[in-house]
């Protein structure tokens, strides 16, 4: 029996505890252990992907050697391998990025931040891997509690926003748990594979029907499905940049993935489409969310708030793909989990770098950043183009599959929604791009920063070139430190790579899993 399925969350959990103990003595060690733990988990995830690709079948692992259905089973199938790969990759990137950013934004709290980050990742990988619906609840709450803690450490308004999230999130978790209980009483098992075998006989059962409704609503809150999204913008806006860079790409996606999991691997194929058409409800709500999130993002002045509303729209693409309930649409939705994780992670980290270097969070103040931080801004352009869906970036390809999915489903409304929201996305990102690459004017924050530094170099009144940090001597100082820049560039490159390699990802990990979606 391969131990990979359990090693992925376990290495995170163990290093979380170790990091806390070590961090109390020396904060530096806390970070090193965390990074080590998440790197190990990433390597295990890669091994998991390799094993799944090689064997063509899931790795099953009975926890504590208690065979299911008595014990808890971990199942590393192709979708699980896909998700853990994404989660641990983002984890590594963000943990490399975090120390400088956290030291600037939330000094003195790093000791507790790293363990919370690892706990969050433990929860998220656990959700992706578990084959037991109650265990899924446990991991859901582990991730949620770690998430509340991380979000609460941010700006002054952060604790209130996090508390609101906690109330709503607990409600969502409660709904889910209620659904678990109903299912257990009607089917007599918590194991997903068992449920899949037993539920076809129970599709008329009222308890099963309400269980499905409760679970989808509960998970819908967790994935910020419109109109249950209202906790999200405040929570993301006020979070520390590194925490937002970790939570925004992953947290809602994993909840969406859990819904996909239930649709594919727990309920009978046609149950959620015909007997109880919840899937198409999710699709329509998502279509609303896509438009709502995009319109609201256009209206924002704060960079992080714009990204937060954009997230409300983008997570809904995953829901839309699910709503189509056909293989190609599902592929689009699932692929968007990866693509959006890369894009939005990259954008939040960029926001953190801008804040680190200049203190700017408002879009209107970003004039001149293109000169100050050319590499970071190049990554921004790549991520922005991907968000709009310009080929050959990753964002194009998930939209391509989604568009094909709407055609397959014959749903022209959703087709229109995808096109319209891409246009809106172009509006809010090009507005930012235009600002970033403008020349800074007298009195702009960027110009002030340049002058301070320029004066130090020349000793006399700075020339415009020096003001902008263009003099050779200040070359290295313009960008954020390498430990922050490198993760951003890696994400930027990954956005391009994920686009060009999309067929390999789809054929290897996604297509097989969704081949029978929708019955």
């Amino acid at each position: 029996m391969s131990h990979i399925p359990v090693l992925i969350p376990l290495s995170l959990l163990v290093s979380s505890l170790l990091a806390l103990l070590a961090g109390l003595r020396s904060p530096g060690w806390g970070h090193k252990i965390s990074l080590g733990g998440v790197s190990a988990s990433f390597l295990f995830s890669l091994a998991g992907i390799r094993a799944v690709l090689r064997d063509g079948m899931p790795l099953r692992y009975a926890l504590g050697n208690w065979p299911p259905p008595v014990g808890i089973e971990f199942v590393l199938d192709s979708l699980g391998a896909y998700m853990t790969g994404i989660i641990t990759f983002i984890g590594v990137v963000v943990l490399v990025y975090a120390p400088r950013s956290l030291a600037r934004e939330t000094p003195g709290r790093e000791v507790y931040t790293y363990p919370a980050m690892l706990l969050l990742l433990t929860g998220l990988t656990g959700i992706s891997l578990t084959g037991d619906i109650f265990n899924l609840y446990v991991f859901l709450e582990i991730a949620a509690i770690a998430g509340y803690a991380l979000l609460a450490t941010g700006d002054r308004a952060a604790p209130v926003a996090a508390f609101r999230y906690l109330l709503i999130g607990s409600l969502g978790g409660g709904f889910y748990l209620l659904g678990v209980a109903f299912l257990y009483f009607s089917a007599g098992t918590l194991n997903m594979a068992d449920l899949q075998a037993r539920l076809p006989d129970l599709v008329e059962n009222r308890a099963v029907i309400s269980a499905a409704a409760f679970m989808i609503v509960g998970l819908g809150v967790k994935m910020a499905l419109f109109p249950l999204h209202f906790w999200l913008p405040d929570a993301y806006t006020n979070a520390p940049s590194a925490a937002a860079g970790l939570i925004a790409p992953l947290m809602t996606k994993v909840a969406a993935f859990a819904i996909v999991r239930f649709f594919l691997d727990v309920f009978p194929p046609s149950f959620l489409t015909e007997a109880l058409p919840l899937v198409s409800t999710v699709g329509w709500l998502s279509a609303g969310g896509i438009l709502f999130g995009s319109v609201m993002a256009v209206a924002q002045k704060d960079y992080r708030r714009m990204l937060a509303y954009s997230s409300v729209g983008q997570i809904a693409y995953v829901g839309l793909g699910l709503g189509m309930a056909n293989p190609v649409g599902m592929v689009g939705g699932l692929l968007h989990i990866l693509n959006h994780a890369l894009m939005k992670g990259c954008l939040f980290l960029i926001g953190g770098s801008i804040r680190y270097r200049t203190g700017i969070t408002q879009i209107a103040e970003m004039r001149g950043l293109g000169r100050l931080m050319p590499w970071t801004m190049a990554a921004f352009v790549v991520a922005a183009l991907a968000m709009i869906g310009i080929p050959p970036t990753a964002g194009f390809f998930s939209k391509w599959y989604l568009i094909l999915g709407t055609l397959e489903a014959g749903n022209w409304w959703w087709f229109g929604v995808i096109i319209l929201s891409s246009l809106l996305t172009a509006v809010y990102f090009f507005r930012t791009v235009e600002m970033i690459f403008r020349e800074p004017e007298e009195g702009d924050p960027v110009a002030r920063i340049g002058r301070k530094r320029g004066a130090g170099v020349t000793g006399v009144g700075p020339s415009p070139e020096v003001q902008l940090g263009l003099g050779g001597a200040t070359e290295g100082e313009r960008e954020a430190p390498l430990s922050m820049l490198l993760p951003i560039l890696v994400m930027g490159a990954a956005i391009l790579a994920a686009g060009l390699l999309n067929v390999a990802i789809v054929n290897g990990l996604l297509a097989g899993a969704v081949a029978h979606a929708g019955g």
Partner: protein, 498 residues
């Protein structure tokens, strides 16, 4: 036959300028002579690769490169067929001249952000050649979108509030068009299961009238925006705020021709002339093109700003190509395809002249040009050649291409279109001839002696004017432009893989 370096020639042709863009960006303003060396080198290499494929293409060889799979069954693939080579050849040849010209223009005008300018121009050329040589619709769309985005920094080059406003307008048009194109491509993929271009088209008629008409409308918008077909044209005259080399190369040759080239691919290699004709879609397209030709000419007459006048002239001439293709007869299609080349040579001449007038004399209006022919005889002489050519006088390239379109219209029995084409020649003369007539036949005390712009600018002007004449007298002598165009049309007629 296909061995060594030539096997991947299409790829190298695309990469030459993409790599140059990176080199340009890293070299920067400090070493501007080295930076300009990259541009020149890349333009020569790029053209070299494309020109080297011409003999093979004429002999029936198709250079193909397939990279990664973009979607199941659809690869990022390039294929040098006659149609693509025709467009790539003209764009890349004119890039060489534009490179020299840009150096004179940017340095003469002491423009800012020259590094960005040269880098983005190189990216645009990569995208143009990429879409010209694209073997399937998805690859085409990919390069089409890159071209849209890469043009944006060039449009806002001036960075005035007005430039930003126009840039936003440009983006709205370009991105909408791109999205619409993606939607149309998805529909085709759904209907046909493939996206590979096929001579004579690959769309199955069984897809149903509704679907086919929708596809046509989506592509009409998608290509019509770039190709300046009315009522989708209004971004193009506005975009003239870009530096003149951009107006010359991108807004007369590369970007706008990408739109009309799209129509060539759509009619010849996606729908196929048969299906277009049977569904009556070609009549719609031809009608809109004819309206554009006439209206654009009238608007051009009202413009005193020289670049605006040329821009509307471009709008009109792009629709010649569209009309030629939409008439569906082989002669008309040949005329349309050949007009891509002849119009490029003539219009770039005119824009080059306008830029020389701006950099050297700060003239932007037609009414300022009285007597300037005495000071800048070469520039204005070249302008006269280009203008005469666009009006379609015998001996110029414009005559040949227009003649073939008219002849094609006659073959198809479209008397109305014949009349419009002939009348538009007069209209062309009406708005272009006054420019050089003023310059040569009026006198001004300001202009008494010879004083031309820098040779970096005058040299390319002379070459393009000569090209315009050569295309009319010996259309196959240089780079086999005519031969390639004929091959392109036979590929459509013959059917099968292009």
């Amino acid at each position: 036959m296909m061995h060594g370096i030539m096997a991947n020639a299409p790829l190298y042709a695309v990469l030459a300028s993409a790599l140059a863009a990176v080199a340009i960006a890293f070299t920067g303003e400090k070493h501007r002579n080295l930076r300009e060396t990259w541009t020149i080198l890349a333009s020569l290499l790029k053209f070299g690769f494309i020109a080297a494929m011409v003999p093979g293409v004429l002999a029936g060889v198709r250079y193909e490169v397939s990279l990664v799979e973009l979607a199941p069954g659809v690869s990022l693939a390039l294929r040098a067929d006659p149609t693509g080579v025709l467009f790539a050849l003209s764009a890349s040849f004119l890039w060489i001249l534009t490179s020299f010209y840009s150096i004179g223009y940017m340095r003469g005008g002491k423009e800012h952000k020259q590094t960005r300018f040269f880098a983005m121009l190189a990216v645009c050329l990569s995208a143009t050649v990429g879409l010209a040589l694209a073997a399937n619709l998805l690859t085409f769309v990919l390069f089409y979108e890159i071209l849209s985005i890469a043009t944006y920094p060039l449009v806002i080059h001036k960075e005035s509030e007005k430039a930003y406003r126009i840039g936003r307008q440009y983006l709205v048009y370009a991105i909408t068009a791109g999205l619409v194109l993606v939607a149309g491509t998805a529909l085709i993929y759904q209907a046909a299961g493939t996206l590979d271009f096929q001579g004579g088209g690959f769309l199955p008629p069984e897809a149903g009238r509704g679907v086919l008409v929708t596809i046509f409308l989506l592509f009409f918008v998608g290509f019509g925006v770039k190709g300046g077909v009315m009522p989708l044209h209004s971004w193009l005259p506005a975009a003239m705020i870009a530096p003149t080399p951009v107006s010359a190369l991108l807004h007369a040759v590369a970007v706008v021709k990408a739109g009309v080239f799209g129509f060539v691919r759509l009619v010849g290699f996606v729908f196929g002339p048969g299906l277009m004709g049977k569904m009556g879609l070609s009549t719609v397209l031809a009608g809109l093109a004819a309206i554009t030709i006439v209206l654009a000419s009238f608007i051009a007459m009202t413009k005193d700003d020289l670049k605006a006048r040329l821009a509307y002239s471009t709008v009109g001439h792009l629709s010649y190509v569209v009309l030629g293709v939409a008439l569906l007869t082989p002669t008309a299609m040949l005329g349309g395809a050949f007009h891509i080349v002849t119009h490029a040579a003539m219009k770039i001449t005119l824009f080059f002249c306008a830029g020389a007038l701006y950099v050297h004399m700060h003239y932007t209006k037609v009414s300022e040009l009285d007597g300037v022919g005495r000071r800048m005889p070469i520039t204005m002489g070249a302008f006269a050649v280009g203008a005469v050519g666009l009006a379609g006088f015998p001996g110029t390239g414009g005559f040949l291409s227009k003649l073939m379109i008219v002849q094609g219209a006659a073959e198809g029995g479209h008397t109305l279109f014949m009349v419009i084409l002939l009348a538009s020649g007069l209209l062309n003369a009406g708005y272009l001839f006054p420019v050089f007539i003023r310059a040569f036949f009026r006198s001004s005390p300001e202009h008494t002696s010879y004083d031309e712009a820098s040779w970096f600018m005058v040299g390319p002007i002379v070459v393009t004017a000569a090209l315009a004449l050569l295309l009319g007298t010996m259309p196959d002598a240089i780079f086999h432009f005519f031969g390639v165009a004929s091959e392109a049309v036979s590929a459509v007629v013959a059917g099968g893989a292009p």
